[in-house]
């Protein structure tokens, strides 16, 4: 007789094992497509099993389980724990891993990439299992191991195309950040162990910390998890990494790996029953700073994968802000604020891991179709790739928070939380000020995604790169459609998640139960609104159904809603109508805000010299590399390596000098003899 507990454990372990080993067939038969198919099937089966187990777990009331594994380790038995919060973070792991691997069948087809395809599949599976393990870990060593395996697997996914120097460079920077994060977390765990005397994770509701260790724990957690989540200033690895990785890997990174940082931050935020107010304040400040910077940087990008990566950073900042509000709610004993904050953070996390992978998959589909990454030179793809266009539009609308899509619901909750925070008396009301950042980010996201959608899909093509483009195959399209569907469903029926949110928030809350989110947020109104808006859109759609005009005009069409369309060229002030190149480009579309914020964005203008009476054709463009990397980290690294080079003379090859070193150290140590202990 299996108990519910052991069946959940068994199911999860099998799901993880399936995922972790799924890459082996593909690696073994790297020249054949069959291996890849088996691998993908295994992975999808594992993910489906995981989701099924999770569903059963939710239906069973999401109790808190702890398992100790019979295992010999110097740090006590490894533990796995599952509670409502962990289960909440597990869902996107399985979903995106499964969807992404199916997408990868078409995107990184085995027949085109026999060597790297196997590797990619192998590390995809390992990454999936490791991320699930990060969430499930109930002991420091298990957690740190899973964390590092995740980071390393991420590295290998990133260097899938390692013959490209820019890919290697991005992967290297990623690895530096990942290692920095891992070391911070190791230090954090060691300090936590010093504080609690146990290796178990995660401690909850500790009484106040009399020593100052909790400060270090908090800051290290912020650095470690913040680096993974991409909170500024530890975000520097993120844009390049996402831009360099294959499409579905970027989706995986941005949709799931970043949320592992969020997960850790949430766990750390719940350590103390009565956290100091500055914890929440710090989350809020860091989150606001991150969101603001990333939002502004995002609009300056012309490489749309970089733009999406920056928008991921921005969303992580928003989540951190919401978490900060929740923490402030706990500190100020305001359960309403705490519930709003944590539910906003959780829901936005979930939403982000639906629409951001969707957008990356769309971006990947476009790259797959036209073989270029920038928005420049594209346009008019909506005609060649109508399905991709539709799902991309859904993604862009969702991330811009347009009702009735899912992004709207979570952003609404976070705005709401801000307004609640602003209504307290006392200085903590200033916590509402970052509301402006959230609004600015919303508008910046708008701007960035309108630009992306319109320059790629709308208007006319600027070059003939788009001529051969077409919708991708079924294996790529299906995951995109599923994700887009989920965006719509969660936007219209958010109430379906209310119970899950309640439980996850309850599992998080370090200070007693939180109010039911349904009593604060009018989910049913969103549903009504969603149905009305969707119905309206459907009516417009039906009414606009084109049919041939009875009149004899060529290409003239008419519809029920708008009579007698006359199809002509766009009015262009009398200029040659078919010149798509005169239209706005990625560089020019958002030039104005880029110019306003140039002191923060620090764009590089590459302007040609135009001289003479008959100047040669010239090109101008703008680059917006990461300012932190460009103006701080790289120069610093160069300076350090120069300094280090000076020390290398110590090892100059002369044996006499080497013996002199021995004599010197002997002298120094001899002097220490006379130091009394």
């Amino acid at each position: 007789m299996l108990t519910a507990k052991s069946s959940v454990l068994g199911g999860l372990i099998s799901a993880l094992a399936l995922a972790a080993c799924s890459g082996l067939p593909s690696l073994a038969a790297s020249r054949r497509n069959a291996g890849r198919m088996i691998s993908t099937t295994l992975l999808v089966a594992g993910c489906a099993l995981g989701i099924t187990v999770l569903a059963g777990y939710w239906l069973g009331g999401a109790p808190s389980y702890i398992w100790s594994l019979p295992w010999n380790s110097p740090f006590g038995p490894p533990q796995i724990r599952l509670d409502a919060l962990a289960a909440f973070f597990l869902f996107p792991v399985f979903l995106i891993a499964g969807a992404g691997s199916i997408y990868g069948l078409g995107y990184w087809a085995q027949k085109n990439h026999p060597a790297s395809g196997g590797r990619l599949t192998l590390f995809w599976g390992i990454m999936t299992a490791a991320m699930a393990m990060v969430v499930l870990a109930g002991q420091m060593v298990v957690f740190l191991s899973a964390w590092e395996i995740m980071a390393m697997a991420g590295y290998f996914l990133l260097v899938t195309d390692d013959s490209q120097p820019n890919v290697r460079r991005a992967a290297w920077i990623y690895l530096i950040a990942a290692h920095l994060a891992a070391l911070s977390l190791i230090a954090m765990c060691v300090l936590l162990h010093g504080m609690t005397g146990t290796f178990a994770l995660w401690p909850r509701r500790l009484p106040a910390d009399p020593g100052g260790i909790s400060v270090a724990v908090f800051l290290l957690a912020l650095a470690g998890f913040g680096a993974k989540a991409g909170l500024a200033p530890m975000h520097f690895w993120l844009p390049d990494a996402h831009a360099a990785a294959p499409g579905h890997v970027s989706a995986f990174f941005s949709g799931v790996m970043l949320t592992m940082g969020v997960y850790g931050l949430m766990r750390v935020a719940a350590i103390f029953a009565d956290p100091p107010l500055w914890w929440g304040g710090t989350f809020l400040t860091v989150g606001a700073g991150t969101a603001l910077l990333a939002g502004i940087w995002a609009i300056a990008q012309t490489d749309f994968k970089r733009m999406m990566a920056l928008s991921s950073i921005e969303n992580m900042g928003i989540i951190a802000m919401a978490l900060g509000l929740a923490e402030i709610g706990i500190s100020t004993r305001s359960p309403v604020l705490a519930a709003l904050g944590v539910c906003g953070a959780l829901l936005h996390m979930l939403n982000h891991s639906l629409f951001k992978p969707l957008l990356f998959l769309c971006a990947g589909a476009v790259i797959h179709a036209v073989h270029r990454r920038g928005v420049e030179g594209l346009g008019g793809l909506a005609r060649n790739m109508p399905r991709t266009f539709t799902v991309s539009l859904v993604g862009a609308l969702a991330i811009s928070g347009i009702p009735p899509l899912n992004g709207f619901v979570s952003e609404w909750i976070i705005f709401f939380a801000f307004m609640v925070a602003g209504s307290t008396s006392g200085p903590q009301a200033t916590a509402a000020l970052p509301l402006a950042v959230l609004a600015l980010c919303g508008a910046a996201t708008f701007a960035a995604y309108i630009t992306w959608i319109s320059l790629i899909f709308l208007g006319r093509s600027k070059t003939d790169a788009t001529a051969i483009a077409h919708d991708p195959g079924r294996s790529m399209l299906a995951p995109m459609i599923v994700l887009a569907g989920l965006c719509v469903v969660l936007g219209t029926v958010p109430a379906a998640l209310a119970e899950i949110l309640n439980r996850a928030a309850g599992a998080w809350s370090p200070a007693g139960p939180l109010p039911d989110i349904r009593s604060i947020v009018p989910f049913h109104i969103f549903t009504v609104l969603g149905i009305v808006l969707l119905a309206g859109a459907a009516i417009v759609g039906i009414a606009l159904r084109r049919h041939r005009s009875r009149r004899a005009m060529p290409a003239a069409v008419t519809t029920d809603l708008v009579p007698a369309f006359a199809a002509v060229e766009t009015w262009n002030c009398g200029f040659s109508p078919r010149v798509g190149r005169a239209a706005y480009t990625g560089g020019s579309m958002l030039q104005m805000p880029t110019h306003w914020f140039r002191s923060v964005i620090r764009p590089r203008w590459l302007r040609p010299r135009i001289e003479g009476i008959f100047p040669l054709p010239a090109e101008a463009c703008r680059e917006s590399p990461d300012p932190l990397l460009d103006y701080l980290i790289n120069p610093l690294a160069a300076r350090i390596s120069r300094t280090v080079d000076r020390f290398r003379r110590l090892h100059g090859g002369k044996s006499q000098i080497y013996i002199l070193y021995m004599l010197l150290i002997l002298l120094i140590l001899t002097l220490s003899i006379f130091v009394t202990a």
Binding site: W71, N72, S73, P74, F75, A115, V141, L144, S145, W147, E148, I149, M152, V159, D162, S163, P165, R168, A171, W172, L175, I176, H179, L180, A182, L183, I186, A187, V190, L191, H193, G194, I640, S641, V644, D645, F647, R648, H651, S655, Y658, I659, Y661, M662, L664, I665, L666, L669, T670, S672, I673, F674, V675, A677
Partner: protein, 478 residues
């Protein structure tokens, strides 16, 4: 006389190597001796609950750990050597095989004695028997490396001799009967003269620290490991240095018994961090993969010294790290040796795309790098985590911060070179060299890496048992 048997096996093997004529069949002696030695080592370590003692021959629990590493590593290297030497038939391997076995014998003697004088003799013997190994390639550079190795290690080992004398002298000056046997020194320890005892420790630290490769006495290491064949580097950096560390553990125990524990700990932490700092500085921008590994060895010796200095759980961590470092260094040096063979160079940018050129060795090298930089799920992570834990538990916050920072810098330095070497595309010249991975040169590395992985996942009960013995022996409260 199981200890003598273990040493005798090496001597017999050495003699056989000298008389064997064929360069092709001679290397086969190595695995045979390795296997017998390993069996004997297992017997020594786990054969009886209390280690037997024959006069000056005795093994203490930390020695068991080192013996395990040395024997295991030699076993792996001996199989590798068979494959490796097939590619080096252009020169006689008689001296190489002979000296490898002598080295093993000397190391066994170092481990299985409790007399400071004998330890010194055996240690000097390791220096002498490894010198011809370094000179195996017979190039100008290897000659220079041998010269420096010999000179610096000889001076260092002379200091160690002086240190041993000084410790005995500290008894003499108090009117006690001088002795160099560790049990009697431990007995005398509370009555020894503090200044001379400390002086003895300083000289022993510098002396055996030289053999270990602690900075700033590490100067021979990059030259030697850079010029010696990979298998020699593996054995020296994994085995020889561990033996030197074992001697420091034993000496530190005498000092601790004399009430000088805290003072020695400060010295050891200082030397440990200094070594890590030197390693970090020289690893940044290091383009030669073998020299890089040598500095990594300096780093890990620093970590060992640090763990010994911190004590408590960190000491257990250091002992575990002896195993992890030894085995991982084996993986790294052996795979680097294969890469060196395949590229006929050991520096970037000549070496690039190793994963494409040598799928097995390249991957192993990369995994070894991941392991040695302390990433889970490999063993070094566990031991480094224990050391870090110990340093926090015992209030060495500065050491903990410095440790983490230096680990990060070292990761940067090492990663840059290793990743450049393994990724990318191999040059045309490198694609046309004769070397290809084969079962002899790849399987031992894979097996070693698996062991490192196993230790990272869980500590097998027998090993945990020995670690616990060592902890109790060193006075670590559980």
């Amino acid at each position: 006389m199981i200890y003598l048997a273990a040493i005798f096996v090496c001597l017999v093997g050495g003699a056989a190597a000298l008389v064997t004529r064929s360069d092709k069949s001679r290397p086969l002696i190595l695995p045979v001796v390795g296997a017998v030695h390993f069996a004997l080592a297992i017997n020594i370590i786990w054969g009886s609950p209390v280690a037997p003692s024959y006069g000056i021959l005795h093994i203490d629990p930390p020695g068991k750990i080192v013996l395990l590493v040395v024997s295991l590593l030699f076993l792996a290297i001996s199989f590798y050597a068979v494959g490796y030497l097939r590619y080096r038939l252009s020169r006689s391997n008689r001296v190489l095989c002979f000296c490898m076995l002598m080295l093993l014998g000397a190391m066994t003697l170092v481990i299985c004695t409790d007399h400071l004088g004998v330890m010194w003799i055996a240690m000097e013997a390791t220096t002498l028997s490894s010198a011809p190994l370094v000179y195996f390639n017979r190039t100008r550079l290897s000659l220079e490396a041998t010269w420096k190795f010999l000179l610096i290690c000889s001076v260092g080992i002379a200091m160690a001799l002086l240190g041993s004398f000084l410790i005995a002298y500290s008894a003499l000056i108090r009117g006690l009967t001088p002795s160099m046997s560790i049990p009697s020194l431990i007995q005398q320890a509370p009555h020894l003269d503090i200044v001379w005892l400390r002086a003895g420790f300083v000289f022993l630290l510098v002396g055996y620290g030289t053999k270990m490769g602690l900075a700033p006495m590490h100067t021979w290491k990059p030259d030697t490991y850079g010029e010696a064949p990979g298998m020699v580097g593996a054995f020296m950096s994994g085995g020889l240095t561990s033996c030197a560390f074992l001697l420091l553990i034993r000496v530190q125990r005498i000092l601790a018994a004399g009430g000088q524990g805290p003072w020695t700990r400060h010295l050891l932490i200082f030397m440990g961090l200094l070594s890590m700092l030197f390693a970090a500085v020289f690893m940044l921008g290091q383009r030669d993969i073998k020299r890089l590994l040598a500095y990594s060895s300096v780093e890990h010796m620093g970590i060992l010294a640090l763990g010994l200095g911190i004590g408590g759980i960190a000491l257990i961590g250091a002992l575990l790290h002896v195993i992890n470092n030894g085995l991982t260094k084996g993986v790294l040096f052996l795979s680097a040796g294969n890469i060196h063979r395949a590229y006929e160079s050991k520096s970037i940018p000549e070496v690039s795309g190793a994963i494409r050129r040598l799928p097995v060795s390249g991957t192993l090298f990369l995994l070894g790098f991941i392991a040695i930089t302390g990433s889970p799920p490999f063993g070094p992570f566990v031991s480094e985590f224990m050391i870090l834990n110990g340093s926090i538990a015992r209030g060495h916050y500065f050491a903990a911060v410095a440790f983490l920072l230096l680990l990060f810098i070292i990761f940067l330095g090492m990663g840059r070179t290793v990743l450049t070497a393994v990724h990318g595309r191999p040059s045309v010249a490198a694609r046309h060299t004769p070397y290809q991975d084969n079962i002899w040169t790849a399987a031992p590395i894979v097996a070693t890496l698996l062991l490192v992985l196993i230790i990272g996942l869980f500590i097998p009960a027998p090993l945990a048992n020995v670690l616990q013995q060592a902890g109790t022996y060193m006075g670590v409260k559980p």
